[in-house]
Symmetry: none
Subunit: 242 residues, 2 copies
DNA sequence: TTAGTTAATTGGGTCGTACCAATTAAAAAA
DNA sequence: TTTTTTAATTGGTACGACCCAATTAACTAA
């Protein structure tokens, strides 16, 4: 993973940032200095910094320097899309917790109108309906209901659904889920939410609904997630062109 | 705008894509061909294509080519972020509702340690503390507490704070807010939330905390927002590198 | 024909140079 | 001292060279 120069730089700079090495000035050394320090070209440094800036970890001011985004230090996102997959399982491992999955339901149903549109299916096609409870260190935190077209993984079964489906796809078909379109929201907890997520009466759930795509643009899954509100920390860096 | 090479390429390629020039194969010419065609270096072509891929307009497959994302042609609005400003007011106008602002508090306070760090202020600098209730069609939906450095807009007063500050900045200083770093979450409603937002006992609030930046990277505002949960709908297109 | 191998195609990564543009620091002038 | 001018600093853009890696097309052998 870190065999590429710019990825190595990103990894190390991120580590140093979170270790507080630049906390005094909240500013990174200039590009030319980093270039000689890491013994790589300035181009590679620029590439690494550009990606860090794109994630909102740092931001650059021409003529002034590259500065650390202080908010990023505070809120290390639960859904910190690093690595090679967008799946929940993978990202939570990075948070240092042990992810778990409890399969609640597993069925095959005809795709509804909405699913046909969202997953680009023809009328009459079928999808898996998979309801799972996600755990962190054996503590439930999210209810996930997923719909996956049968034609994508005809061999899917309860055994596979008990683990990370994205990991299975990547292992067997070498197809990584690299894009997603999500809608984040909040809602009062239902009775089921309260029971499964161990919520008190007035505690809400965070919701995430969205489509996941393979690298080639194929929509592969529609998911609706309800999670313990304390676990919904979604960081977003938005930049629009002037 | 289009005086830069890669921006010129992006603009022209986008035009050609939507004109259907490549609709037959849904594939762009290879990078080396584009390089000679546009009489620019392959590096610039790569840069342009990388940005197009980043927006989900095309996707690249090593060894195969650069392909047009059919989803983008079919449902452009899904991926597009329109507008020239990030402010709440502006975006909600698009939803067709009439935005309103009720000023709750307006004060000048010394920047706290956290604010000093988040807004890159020196010790001893002052900020406006502005608490506002946001309305849509005269219906309250969000409590917003903002902190803006005095030095950015020394002339700010209660009159101005009663309207969109971002619009004021753009109108008077020609400085648009083009970047933001937000953390989205959910929380149970406090007594104040319930009163101001007319929430029932078990109904939660959505929270958004973040920094807003000018185009040049200057942090201009730290905001903490608590909104009626039905109004928290945050769309996010995430793509990671394979 | 089929299966396996090789070559060509195509995007990816790295390096280094050159110059530009915005900011800041230093120096000079008022 | 204050203001203005100049120089140094720092990120931005562009170019082109070189090689790598994944895919596809062409070729070869069974």
């Amino acid at each position: 993973m870190a065999d590429l120069v710019y990825q190595r730089i990103i990894k190390d700079l991120t580590r140093r940032i979170f270790a507080g090495e630049f906390a005094a000035e909240m500013k990174l050394p200039d590009e030319r200095h980093l270039s000689t320090e890491y013994q790589v070209s300035r181009s590679s440094i620029k590439r690494a910094l550009a990606l860090l800036a794109n994630d909102g970890i740092v931001f650059k001011k021409r003529g002034s320097g590259t500065f650390i985004n202080p908010l990023y230090l505070e809120n290390q996102s639960l859904f910190n899309y690093e690595g090679s997959n967008l799946g929940i399982t993978d990202n939570l491992q990075m948070a240092g917790k042990k992810p778990g999955i409890k399969l609640l339901e597993f069925a095959v149903i005809p795709a509804t109108k909405t699913l046909q549109r969202d997953l680009f299916l023809q009328s009459g096609e079928f999808v898996y309906q998979i309801k799972r409870l996600r755990l962190l260190d054996d503590q439930p935190f999210m209810i996930e209901e997923s719909f996956i077209p049968i034609k994508v993984v005809p061999e899917l079964n309860q055994e596979i659904a008990g683990h990370s489906i994205f990991n299975y796809l990547q292992a067997t078909k070498k197809q990584a889920v690299t894009k997603s379109f999500l809608t984040i929201g909040a809602a009062p907890a239902t009775a089921e939410d309260q029971k499964l997520l161990q919520l008190k009466a007035n505690e809400p759930v965070g919701t995430m609904a969205g489509i996941f795509f393979l690298d080639d643009g194929t929509p592969i899954e529609y998911s609706f997630m309800r999670m313990h509100y304390q676990y919904l920390k979604f960081n977003s860096f938005v930049a629009i062109e002037p």
